[in-house]
């Protein structure tokens, strides 16, 4: 669906993006994960035509982004990390403007407002909205025309638990309907919960791309925490599954029926990032 090849952006001597390449499949949720300043927003700015890259190629479907930008515009949605509404107008007026621009029936504005749970506030001016409501309105605006590909720049940053949940379930539903979702975030838990695949970005480079599961299995320490009910009382032990002795020990205790619980010390993506870059995620 989206194919990015060797994208490079310099700001003066500062290299913001260094030969970034990735490829998105239709209907997947792709997480672009990295600390502040890693180049997430820069990537999105290039993809939406706001920043001039030094080199690289971007294809959406079969079309090159720069050669057929006007055609591609209507097939892509972009939720930036700021709110850009016409603040003096109401939510419904904002959306119906875009309905007209996209040649959609007016009913569609009502539909998306319902989707993002803003139907009750449709006739309020946007300037009176809370941050979460504005963000939901942005998403509503960008899914209005049923884009094939939607970019989201930190969609749940600074939002409360409920709004976050609404947005996440909405994104999952979109992906289920076949929309490709490209979502940047610096929130590890979000990426883990939401994304089908994740790219780790650090200092303008993609460190690695994999599924959350893949990261976990590859970087997880094969370690389980076992609580035993032995003759001398309860006891907790760490068992390494890649060692013969420990495995034998565990098998023995299972056979004896002395095990109360087994917890896996599941590795989080935080640990993976630490492993990959040698730096603490901040």
């Amino acid at each position: 669906m989206l194919h990015v090849q060797g994208l490079t952006v310099h700001f003066g001597s500062f290299v913001a993006l260094n030969h970034i390449s990735f490829r998105l499949q239709p209907g997947e949720i792709f997480g672009f994960l990295g600390p502040n300043g890693a180049g997430k927003t820069t990537t999105l700015k290039v993809l939406t035509g706001q920043i001039r890259p030094m080199e690289g190629a971007v294809f959406i479907g079969e079309q090159s982004l720069w050669e057929s930008f006007d055609d591609l515009k209507g097939r892509v949605g972009y939720v930036p990390d700021f709110d850009n509404h016409l603040e003096e107008l109401t939510a419904h007026q904002n959306l119906s403007l875009f309905c007209r621009l996209y040649r959609l029936p007016k009913e569609r504005a009502r539909q998306v407002l319902e989707t993002v749970e803003l139907l009750g506030e449709r006739d309020q001016k946007v300037k009176n909205f809370s941050k979460g409501m504005k963000k939901k309105l942005t998403i509503a605006r960008e899914i209005l025309h049923l884009p094939e590909l939607i970019y989201l720049d930190e969609p749940t940053a600074n939002l409360d638990v409920h709004s976050t949940a609404v947005i996440r379930s909405l994104l999952k539903r979109l992906a289920g309907d076949g929309t490709t979702v490209f979502c940047t975030t610096h929130n590890m838990e979000e990426a883990e919960e939401l994304c089908d695949r994740i790219a780790f970005l650090d200092q303008g480079k993609i460190v690695e791309i994999d599924t959350p599961e893949g990261f976990r299995t590859r970087y997880a320490e094969p370690l389980v925490r076992v609580v035993l009910e032995g003759p001398e009382g309860r006891e907790t032990r760490l068992v390494r599954l890649d060692q013969e002795d420990d495995r034998a020990f565990l098998a023995e205790r299972v056979r004896l029926g002395q095990i109360v619980t087994i917890h896996s010390d599941s590795t989080s993506l935080k640990d993976v990032f630490l492993e990959l870059t040698g730096r603490e995620f901040h």
Binding site: V46, T48, G49, Q50, I51, R52, P53, M54, E55, G56, A57, L65, W66, F69, D70, K73, G74, V76, Y78, P80, F82, N84, H85, L86, E87, E88, L89, Q93, L97, F98, R100, L101, Y102, R103, K125, R141, H145
Partner: protein
């Protein structure tokens, strides 16, 4: 290019936003109320400053001073007053009855007599009229005051018949000026300041980004916003004019002027908005511009060097046309500045919208390998610069430098300068810079390929010989067939066809007579080398290539020739220039090297100089 549908939608958005923003319409209302109040009010002229000595009952002297801006009477003793203000026009105002106050109480009109050694009789009459008319202001009485002139004393001033003074300062004049200024300023504020603000606000809030990523294009966004504010400005200006002089609204010149002005301001706003990202930056620009305008209108009439700047401000143009219209004198639409202004205001929006959409466009990779080509947009930009130079910058520069000794001593150089200003100078300024920015390459990029330079030069020369031969043949035929029919008339054929041309030739003959050899060499070098190279570079190198890329070689040759002919701005010689353009275009098409048409063009220019030097 521009789709009406999106223009309409975005226009509607502007309307919604305008309605939701009360600050804007309060401002408009304020302007309108101000204009309406002015147009229904009487005008008080306070330009006459008299120092009035009130001699009440003959007992003591007082001096009443009528301030210019404060209509009140301050009373001083004459000596103290003279010391204080250093003024010398003193009028004595003698009360004819016993007491001013008593007269007022009794409801009688106080009778005064005015006399002065320092005012002429006419001025006294005027002062009397002024006092009678505005007695409630100056003397603070609300009853009519009877003021008589004292018999002139002595014989220092002729007593002669007192003419009834038709005031030099017509109050209506002042009102006209005010209304013209108000309309001009309101147009500036709405279509320049507010529009710039609105654009930059959209950029700063990045709402423009959301709309840009919808199917609407940046040109449509720019135009919709621009047109909305133009409409707003025009309606305010028209309603101000309508309140003051409704009959003006039927004048086409009024609308042409306002629309041109509004378009010009829109372009200025667009160019500002293309390069400014934040409102904190656009505020000083807009306020600074208004401040600059104020200074220019207040100060420029007092400093000669500021005059050319003031005269070329669009505000000055709108103001003078409006003054003309309000005055009732028919406006000379043939005035060249009017058409210059209209032309600039039609060209500039194209440039501005182009610049804006280029700045807003999707940014391509910088190192993308694409073959740079001349496009029509490039040609339009260069042409716009040339026109701007010719009609605005060159006259300004010329009015600054025309007193330089070199120009006054050698009038020839003045003529050269004027000629160069048409095309050569702006092209020298803009072409290399443009090529550097666009192509990062040298001059060969626009067609100076030099694989076989000699051959191409020769073919240019050959074509010229053929052309000259043909021209001579045609003129011989003309002389043989047409001229005999015209024989017998007093004036020459040329004079009949184009009196202006003859006038020009006469002036040229006067100026060219008695030139030294070096002058001719200089003239020849400019006309024979510089001008052909630059003109060919533009008309054939840029324009013809751009047209050919789009519509093929036929349209390219004819189009570039037509542009070449029209831009020489000489209707009589248009066919000749057109023919020249066609020939050089074909020559370029054939050889693919600009040297060939340059040779042709150079020989043609040199030949005409030679003819001039022989004939004159």
């Amino acid at each position: 290019m521009i789709r009406f549908r999106y223009l309409r939608i975005l226009f509607y958005k502007e309307l919604l936003y305008f309605l939701a923003n009360p600050a804007l319409w309060v401002l408009l209302l304020l302007f309108f109320v101000m204009g309406a109040l002015v147009s229904v009010s009487d005008v008080i002229l306070q330009r006459d400053v008299f120092n009035i000595v009130v001699v009440e009952g003959g007992s003591s002297d007082f001096l009443a001073f009528v301030e210019q801006n404060e209509p009140k009477v301050s009373v001083y003793s004459p000596r103290a007053f003279r010391k204080k203000k250093g003024l010398n026009r003193v009028v004595s105002l003698r009360l004819l009855s016993d007491s001013f106050e008593e007269d007022l109480h009794a409801g009688r009109a106080p009778a005064l007599e005015i006399a002065s050694d320092e005012l002429s009789q006419t001025e006294l009459v005027r002062l009397r009229d002024l006092l009678v008319k505005n007695s409630f202001l100056y003397l603070q009485v609300e009853v009519p005051v009877d003021i008589r002139l004292a018999a002139p004393r002595g014989d220092s001033r002729p007593a002669g018949p007192v003419e009834v003074l038709q005031s030099v300062e017509d109050p209506e004049d002042f009102k006209r000026m005010f209304m013209a200024l108000l309309i001009t300023i309101s147009l500036t504020i709405i279509t320049f300041s507010l529009l710039s603000f609105a654009f930059v606000e959209e950029k700063q809030n990045r709402t423009i980004l959301a709309i840009l990523l919808s199917p609407a294009r940046s040109t449509e966004i720019a135009l919709a916003k621009g047109l909305f504010f133009i409409l707003l400005g025009l309606s305010l200006a028209a309603s101000l004019a309508g309140v003051y002089r409704p009959d003006i609204l039927t004048e086409p010149v009024f609308w042409a002027t306002l629309v041109s002005g509004a378009l010009l301001y829109m372009s200025m706003a667009l160019i500002v908005a293309s390069f400014v990202e934040r409102q904190s930056a656009v505020t000083p620009i807009c306020i600074g511009y208004l401040f600059f305008l104020g200074i220019m209108f207040i100060l420029a009439p007092r400093f000669t060097a500021l005059y050319p700047i003031k005269n070329h401000l669009p505000e000055n143009f709108i103001f003078s046309v409006l003054s003309f219209l309000f005055d009732g004198t028919p406006f000379p639409v043939y005035a060249s500045f009017f058409w210059d202004f209209v032309a600039v205001s039609l060209v500039l929006p194209v440039v501005a919208v182009g610049v804006f959409s280029r700045r807003m466009a999707c940014k391509q990779p910088a190192m993308a390998t694409r073959v740079p080509r001349w496009t029509l947009a490039d040609c339009a930009l260069i042409l716009a610069f040339c026109l701007l130079f010719q009609f605005v910058l060159a006259p300004m520069i010329f009015s600054f430098i025309r007193h330089l000794p070199i120009l006054t001593r050698h009038r020839m150089s003045g003529i050269l300068l004027l000629y160069l200003a048409v095309f050569a100078v702006p092209l020298i300024l803009v072409l290399p810079a443009y090529m550097r920015i666009k192509f990062r390459k040298g001059f060969h990029e626009i067609g100076f390929q030099s694989s076989k330079p000699l051959r191409d030069l020769l073919s240019g020369a050959t074509w010229f010989c053929l052309y000259m031969g043909g021209l001579l043949l045609v003129s011989w035929l003309l002389v043989a067939t047409v001229l005999p029919g015209l024989a017998g008339s007093d004036s020459s054929l040329l004079e009949r066809l184009n009196p202006q041309q003859v006038q020009f030739l006469r002036t040229a003959r006067n100026l060219l007579a008695g030139l030294g050899t070096w002058h001719w060499v200089l003239f020849g070098a400019v006309m024979g080398i510089l001008v052909p190279v630059l003109e060919e570079a533009y008309f054939r190198g840029c324009l013809l290539n751009a047209l050919r890329d789009r519509w093929g070689p036929g349209v390219a040759v004819v189009g570039s020739a037509l542009a070449f002919g029209l831009l020489h701005m000489n209707l009589l010689l248009l066919p000749i220039y057109f023919l020249l353009g066609i020939l050089t275009g074909l020559l370029y098409q054939r050889t693919g090297n600009l040297l060939a048409p340059v040779a042709f063009h150079a020989l043609n220019n040199l030949a005409s100089i030679a003819v001039l030097s022989v004939l004159l």
